[in-house]
Symmetry: C2
Subunit: 393 residues, 2 copies
């Protein structure tokens, strides 16, 4: 039987884009396979492996035979540890019953949007932003409405823009602090203003806090300090260096607990068991010490890369104070997609073109990730400098 039948594809798939950087990464791998050396400044995960105390806890869980499903909402001990983390780190009291352990922050977003968005309902979010967010909305037949943001609001949605773009189809707004790709944060007063602005419109605020912990000279504020009606998405991937474990969490408002639990059961059954046991070690002092030294290393990298790129002529008007990204205006050097391709082919440096982060001036921006060693960053900057001298001067 041959598959000559027509290929019926759901219409949503026309709106769901691939990660454009994957093509570039594929080409980078080809170049590497051909013997070229590539400096990777495109990668959205820490170069550090998972801290040893977490690994050790996973080993113990293997020995103890923890290979079955956990309850849908997660290991009670881990939900309590996360509630404790909010108490210790932010001074915020959270009922552990509101914490849902999810398969990555991706799982948490799918739950939040699944319980909130009806077909054609709209989700407001900042453009540029993490590309999957709008695809999650589209996946459930909702619609993301990107709000162009720039340096005047530190690339963040603010209450003014929110009220200007809110319409009767809007049910929620999503912000990220620190933001991918811009590395900027929302202050507590800004979170409170956004929360209030959404609240008076009977909407919900969703805050992506997955880069919390990775901040430099500033502490990230959780929206839970100002709005217990918000949904918080978080993850063990970034600060805790557990990307491959696929573990995150959602803090949902109390009145949504039952709905979130139903969805969690049906969509995922439960988050990975071993990862949950391992993550019990994530909040221990020994682990914290390791993570804080890594945070300091990310800070050193940012402190090197930010002035170095500005020196080369990239415009980064707002100081990025979190995550591990710099979002740079490269317009004086031409179109960002072409530039990214040239940097890869001619200078051996991989960076991500703005295309992956939205529709607002993507051709003018590149994202530089400092998820590689200082030595490699220095080498990358040397190569970029050499390329720009030859090419533009």
């Amino acid at each position: 039987m041959s598959p000559e039948r027509p290929t019926h594809t759901a219409r949503r798939m026309a709106d769901i884009e691939p990660f454009h950087v994957m093509e570039l990464l594929g080409r980078a791998r080809e170049l590497e396979a051909a013997g070229h050396d590539i400096v990777h400044m495109e990668i959205g995960e820490p170069d550090f492996g998972t801290p040893e105390p977490i690994i050790e806890r996973a080993r113990q869980a293997l020995t103890d035979g923890h290979t079955h499903y956990t309850p849908a909402l997660g290991l009670p001990a881990l939900r309590e540890a996360i509630a404790g983390h909010y108490r210790d780190r932010y001074g915020v009291e959270i009922d552990p019953g509101r914490v849902v352990i999810t398969p990555g922050a991706s799982g948490a977003l799918l739950l939040a949007l699944g319980v909130l968005l009806d077909r054609d309902d709209e989700l407001l979010l900042a453009d540029p932003g993490y590309p999957c967010n709008r695809h999650f909305a589209r996946f459930v037949e909702g619609q993301a409405r990107g709000v162009p943001v720039d340096a005047t609001t530190r690339y963040q949605l603010d209450a003014e823009r929110l009220s200007a773009h809110w319409n009767e189809r809007c049910v929620a707004a999503l912000v990220a602090s620190p933001s991918n790709p811009t590395g900027t944060l929302l202050e507590r007063s800004e979170l409170a203003a956004l929360a209030e602005s959404v609240r008076v419109r009977s909407g919900r605020l969703i805050v992506d806090e997955i880069y919390h912990g990775l901040t430099y000279g500033i502490e990230a504020e959780t929206v839970l300090a100002v709005d217990h009606g918000a949904f918080v998405v978080n993850s063990f991937s970034k600060y805790f260096c557990m990307t491959g474990w696929r573990l995150g969490w959602l803090v949902a408002p109390e009145e949504y607990q039952r709905e979130v639990e139903k969805l969690m059961q049906n969509l995922f059954i439960a988050a990975p068991t071993l990862a949950q046991h391992a993550a019990l070690a994530a909040f221990e002092p020994e682990t914290r010490k390791i993570l804080e030294s890594r945070r300091a290393e990310f800070e050193r990298r940012r402190d090197f890369l930010l002035p170095a790129l500005r020196e080369l002529g990239f415009e980064i008007p707002v100081e990025p104070r979190g995550a591990f990204y710099l979002y740079a205006d490269c317009s004086r050097f031409g179109d960002s997609k072409q530039l990214a391709s040239d940097l890869l082919e001619k200078a051996g440096v991989a960076v991500t073109p703005g295309l992956d982060f939205g529709n607002y001036r993507p051709e003018q921006h590149l994202r530089f990730a400092y998820t590689t060693s200082m030595e490699r960053l220095e080498e990358g900057v040397r190569r970029i400098a050499g390329f720009l001298r030859v090419d533009n001067h």
Copy 2:
């Protein structure tokens, strides 16, 4: 700021039901906490832990520091191992490029339905069946159309019923072989007839093969032997005893590869890394030997439980030859929900009422899982017998 805003919940949530058995399980745990002994015949996962060679491979992966993301479609070596599994076990050649490693079979189903179902598109499936299937369809704003099935087709959708229920909104049909909750299989000729029936209607067949390997006196046939245009959902959870690892796979038709990859990137980033490395040991002879001895143990349990329940007056008209479930007509003893509650409270035996599996005569059926030891099954049968004698005679 108090959460006095109205609770806007997406309409889909009214159609997405919780696992009813969870309530019963919660009550069982209460009873256990109060000192009562409960025989668990409601649990849908193997009581066996993950085989040691898989555990050992996970230990090695921890030591080797495999804690970062894998490619979105999964570790190439694992995709190849799965293609090898189709060659060795079924004599079917599959391009490893068609194999996508997913976070559980749940992830695979979400991908398949995400690329196939537009809003209001319909998915035909057997009722009774795995409850999450219809919720996955609803999640993406599609609609599952349950087709009542009974002993006359071994509780399976057949080509005749499919053509009787297909309408212009239908884009796909989903069957499971072996089936949860009925444990029955589709023969190769039946799969071929279903495939042809769907094909001529320009639809797609999705086959849930997650209980493959757990069959008794019969080998399960893969739809890939008769239809390369089908979507196959499979899992390391059941036969391979890896439930908590959250690892499955999808074999997608070649012409959908690009769409599936986009969705995989966006929804999940990738499946859990450690689980993928561990699963590399799943197809090794040493592991196979362990799994086959467990299969034999499940068969012994079935061979005990099936006649024992029939003897007690439960009707099981078709011999279940796969998975680890018996779906029994309990109508002579009353409503299944009440009966399940009574069995738990008065006899200390937990079973799942039909309610969890669809809308076709759920009140007449109970699902018995033989995912506990022979001794416990014997004890369970003794208790049920005692309860029925006291209660009904």
